[in-house]
Structures are given as structure tokens and as C-alpha cells.
């Protein structure tokens, strides 16, 4: 075949493949916006649900999801980063660290409903936190831990080795070296892991099903030991469990969830690019 023709065909195929990846995203967004935008109003976003969720707003679900995501990140980021620092900077490549790395890979493959059952067993029942924001946030936190550890490890490993050598050669201790010459440069990568974790925690239904999510609770949570509504579960409920919900309310809820995740991501991306601006090597 003519090499120019075959090149054209190859590029066309590659372009088509890329298009096919983007297409579903665009279609999903378009459908959700088209069908849901009419439901969005001040009242929808900032008031309590009424009439068994057939009227009123979704404020408790929005706030509930925000609390859960925030709680999960507050729990998982320090823990995950600390574990990653230990694995990369201290433990070396011994049997223990290989075992831990294997465990993390497996943790990432556990289905989310299993996390839900785990959370029910440990936090709700064993620790007697009950079905509460605390239980739900901890469960989500454990679910996103592998993402955070893995991306933090990659971020730490991508910091050039000579930063450590130079710092140690100037009389810094190992901890000072990590604190001043490694962690600051790994921060953008750690942020990336946080972003990925945020998105997952906000969107998952199964882990909150048994640990926190309320079917219908038209008031705001007062403490971390309260149950709360949450957007993904609320969406499931009004789509399948309650008859007579207007279609635009269902799509409107999906739109709010999607926007929330995108906003959280956007905030994290801005934060990350701020840090990355300082990176000069």
C-alpha cells in the first residue's frame, strides 16, 4: 500500500478511537444537562426535601456528601502520605515492604460493596459509631487509601535522588531531608492522588449504603454521629425506590452530583498547579 495512504488510514483510526473515548462523556453530560437543568433552582439547592422527596430541595444530600468527602480525605491523606513516606524513604525493599505493597494493590481491587460491609462490621457495630457520618467517612477513607498511597509513592519516587544526597551531605538528618527536600517537591503528585480519591469518594454508593446514608432525613446533621442523606444514595433512591418523582428532579440531582465532583476536582487542580509553578528542575 502507498505509505502516505496507510499513514492517513492509521491517523484516522487513532483519531476515531480518541473520539470514541470522548463521545460517551459528552453524551452523558449533554443528556444530564438537557434533562436536569430545568430542576435547578435556588430552592432545589438550598432547601429541605418535602412530600417524601417529591418536592423541595436536596440540601441535606449535598451537605452530607461534602461532609463525607471531607472526612474521608482528612482521614486518608495524612495516613496514606505517611505510609508512602515510610515505604519509599525508610523501609527499602525488604520482605515487609513488598508485603505491604502487595496488600495495597489488593486493597485497590476490592469491590466497593465489600468496603461497605467492612465499614458496617468495624465502625458501625464493633466501634459502636452506629450509622453515622464518622462511620461513612472512615469507610470511604479506607476505600481511597490505596489510590492515595500509590500516587504519593510515585510522587516521592519521582523526586530526583540527588536532592536527598545533597541534603544529607549538608548535614541534614534523614527526617529533615524528607521534610524539606523531598516532600515539598512531591506535593503536586500527592495532590493528584487526593483529586482522584475525592472524585471516587464523592461518587460511590455502596460504601455509604450500610454505614451512613439515610433514605429520607429532611434535616441537617448536627454531629459526626448523625446519619445523613448523601447524593449518590439519594439519586439511587429517587430513581428506583420512590414512585412519582419528576424526571427533571432525578436528572437535576445527577447534575448536582456531577458538578460537585467537578468543582472539587477543579479546586484541587488549581491548588496543584500553584505548587507546580514553584517546581524548577
Amino acid at each position: 500500500m502507498n505509505p502516505r495512504l496507510s499513514q492517513k488510514i492509521a491517523f484516522s483510526l487513532l483519531f476515531l478511537a480518541t473520539l470514541l473515548v470522548v463521545l460517551p462523556v459528552v453524551v452523558i453530560l449533554a443528556i444530564i444537562v438537557a434533562k436536569g437543568a430545568s430542576a435547578i433552582s435556588w430552592e432545589f439547592l438550598f432547601s429541605m426535601p418535602r412530600d417524601g422527596m417529591r418536592a423541595g430541595g436536596i440540601l441535606p444530600a449535598i451537605l452530607g456528601t461534602l461532609y463525607l468527602v471531607l472526612g474521608a480525605v482528612l482521614f486518608a491523606v495524612p495516613l496514606g502520605v505517611a505510609a508512602a513516606v515510610y515505604l519509599v524513604e525508610y523501609s527499602g525493599n525488604n520482605r515487609f515492604s513488598r508485603l505491604v505493597k502487595l496488600a495495597i494493590v489488593n486493597l485497590a481491587g476490592v469491590p466497593s460493596v465489600v468496603y461497605g460491609l467492612f465499614g458496617l462490621g468495624i465502625f458501625v457495630i464493633f466501634f459502636r459509631f452506629g450509622a453515622s457520618i464518622l462511620s461513612g467517612a472512615l469507610t470511604l477513607g479506607i476505600m481511597i487509601l490505596p489510590v492515595i498511597i500509590t500516587s504519593s509513592r510515585e510522587a516521592l519516587e519521582s523526586v530526583p535522588r540527588h536532592f536527598r544526597t545533597v541534603s544529607l551531605s549538608l548535614g541534614a538528618s534523614r527526617w529533615q531531608t524528607i521534610r524539606h527536600s523531598v516532600l515539598p517537591h512531591a506535593l503536586p503528585g500527592i495532590m493528584t492522588g487526593m483529586i482522584l480519591g475525592l472524585g471516587r469518594a464523592a461518587g460511590e454508593t455502596a460504601p455509604i449504603l450500610f454505614t451512613v446514608a439515610a433514605f429520607y432525613l429532611p434535616r441537617l446533621p448536627q454531629s459526626v454521629f448523625d446519619q445523613t442523606m448523601a447524593l449518590p444514595y439519594h439519586l439511587y433512591v429517587i430513581s428506583t425506590q420512590v414512585p412519582g418523582i419528576p424526571e427533571n428532579v432525578r436528572y437535576g440531582t445527577a447534575l448536582v452530583l456531577l458538578t460537585l465532583v467537578l468543582l472539587l476536582n477543579l479546586a484541587a487542580i488549581i491548588l496543584r498547579s500553584r505548587f507546580r509553578g514553584k517546581k524548577k528542575w
Binding site: G92, F163, T165, L168, L170, G171, A172, H185, K280
Partner: protein
């Protein structure tokens, strides 16, 4: 040379990497305020020797060190915290490796790690050490700009200033001019000749002519063994060992 105080005294130093000898039974004394140069082909153990002196060798996985190194009579393993040792025995690496922060922050890094916070003494240390490394005039108006923007030769002098800020005893140079042009190289060499009035210098170089230009005494390393050590002028006129003369006349290496 004979009457000078001994700075480093090395006895029976062996270094292994996972069973392979990198340095074998090294016995050596380095006098205060001399420039002691080490020459030899690749894999002769020169850098291993240098890294043993400030225990950077400990960072290498699978490295095993035995024997005794004393600095001013003190065992550098038993008698000193490793951080204190590395402050006394600074090192300049083959490539200029500034940290990705400003010129100022590069110079004060070691001091900050020691807990020095007072802005006046930090400023003073920056000025003093940049003057000592002959960089002050070129950078005094842009101390807060990124060190990465400096030229290679300037970066290498910044790396010298970074050590000098900690008021060390000994300066180790690991082929410090291998990545530099001849003019930058000459400036680094001139700087060394001045610095030896205050500091002891150990220079590892793959450039035989450089050893001849700046060294007071020179050692020739080959495959982990020290073949010969003598006054530099003796080494380059009447070497005792035929391998030494082969190397310095360029027959191998």
C-alpha cells in the same frame, strides 16, 4: 608538609559492595591544609574513598565498610554524629547540583537544618561564603532568584559556598570540573588554591593535569588499591611504580 597536623588518618579501610571489593586495605594520612589529590581510572575506588570520608557511603545499599577513619583523632563512626561529620566534611559533586530553590536558600540550607533562624547571621553567612567561593560579585543583586538559572560554573561555585556556609574543616571534591568549560575549571582551581589556607582539601579527579596543577600530594588508585602516594612533583617526575607512570603518561585509563 611533614610537620603539619594530621587531619584524616585512615587505617585498614575496606569497602565492599555486595561482596565486590571497591577499596582494599587502604592506609593513608591526610595532612591539614594540604590539597590531597586522588587520580586513577574509572572504577578504581576514588569516589568510594571520598564518600567514605563523610559516610555518604552509608547511603549505598549493600555497602560494607570496615577499618578505621579518624578525623582529628576522632573515630568518625563511633565518635561523631553523622550529621556533625557531614557538616565538618563537606562535598562538592561531579555535577553541579543546586537544590531547586533560590541562591540564598541554597547557601543557608545547612545552617537552617542546624536550627539557625536569626536573619542577620544567615545574611552574614551568605555574604561570607559567597565571597570565599568568588561568586558574590556575580550574584549579590539576585540572591532570591532560582539557583537553577546560574551557569554551570557558577552553580558549582554555589555548591562550594553552600558547604563553606557551615564552616567546615575539610572540603571533598569529586571530579568537580568534569562538566565545566576550561575557564570555569580554572576559576574553581584558583579558588581551591586559596581555600587550602583555611581548609583541608581532598580532590578526586579524572584529569591528571589538574592533579599536577593544584595537588600538594597525589595518590594513584587502581582497582580498589592505592598503588602509590607521594608529593605531587615526585609523582609526576619520578613515579615509583610502572603502572603509575603508564597512567599519567596516558598509556591506559
Amino acid at each position: 608538609m611533614v610537620n603539619r597536623a594530621t587531619k584524616f588518618s585512615i587505617q585498614g579501610l575496606h569497602v565492599q559492595y555486595g561482596g565486590m571489593y571497591a577499596l582494599r586495605d587502604l592506609n593513608l594520612e591526610i595532612a591539614a591544609n594540604e590539597i590531597f589529590t586522588v587520580i586513577g581510572p574509572a572504577n578504581s575506588g576514588k569516589s568510594t574513598f571520598l564518600n567514605s570520608l563523610n559516610r555518604l557511603i552509608d547511603l549505598e545499599a549493600h555497602s560494607r565498610v570496615s577499618g578505621m577513619i579518624r578525623l582529628d583523632g576522632i573515630d568518625i563512626r563511633a565518635g561523631l554524629e553523622v550529621e556533625a561529620l557531614r557538616r565538618k566534611v563537606g562535598i562538592v559533586f561531579a555535577l553541579p547540583l543546586p537544590l531547586p530553590v533560590s541562591i540564598y536558600e541554597n547557601v543557608v540550607y545547612g545552617l537552617r537544618m542546624q536550627g539557625v533562624r536569626d536573619a542577620k547571621s544567615l545574611d552574614a553567612a551568605v555574604e561570607r561564603s559567597l565571597i570565599e567561593s568568588y561568586l558574590w560579585e556575580e550574584v549579590k543583586d539576585r540572591l532570591r532568584t532560582p539557583a537553577m538559572n546560574l551557569s554551570g560554573g557558577q552553580q558549582q561555585r554555589l555548591c562550594m559556598a553552600r558547604i563553606l556556609a557551615g564552616q567546615p574543616d575539610v572540603l571533598l571534591f569529586d571530579e568537580p570540573t568534569s562538566g565545566l568549560d576550561p575557564i570555569s575549571t580554572a576559576r574553581i582551581e584558583e579558588t581551591m588554591l586559596v581555600l587550602k589556607e583555611k581548609y583541608t582539601i581532598v580532590l578526586v579527579t579524572n584529569n591528571v593535569a589538574q592533579a599536577a596543577r593544584v595537588g600538594d600530594r597525589t595518590a594513584f588508585f587502581l582497582m580498589g588499591e592505592m598503588i602509590e602516594v607521594s608529593e605531587t612533583s615526585t609523582m609526576f617526575t619520578t613515579p615509583a611504580d610502572s603502572r603509575t607512570s603508564d597512567y599519567i603518561t596516558g598509556k591506559f585509563g
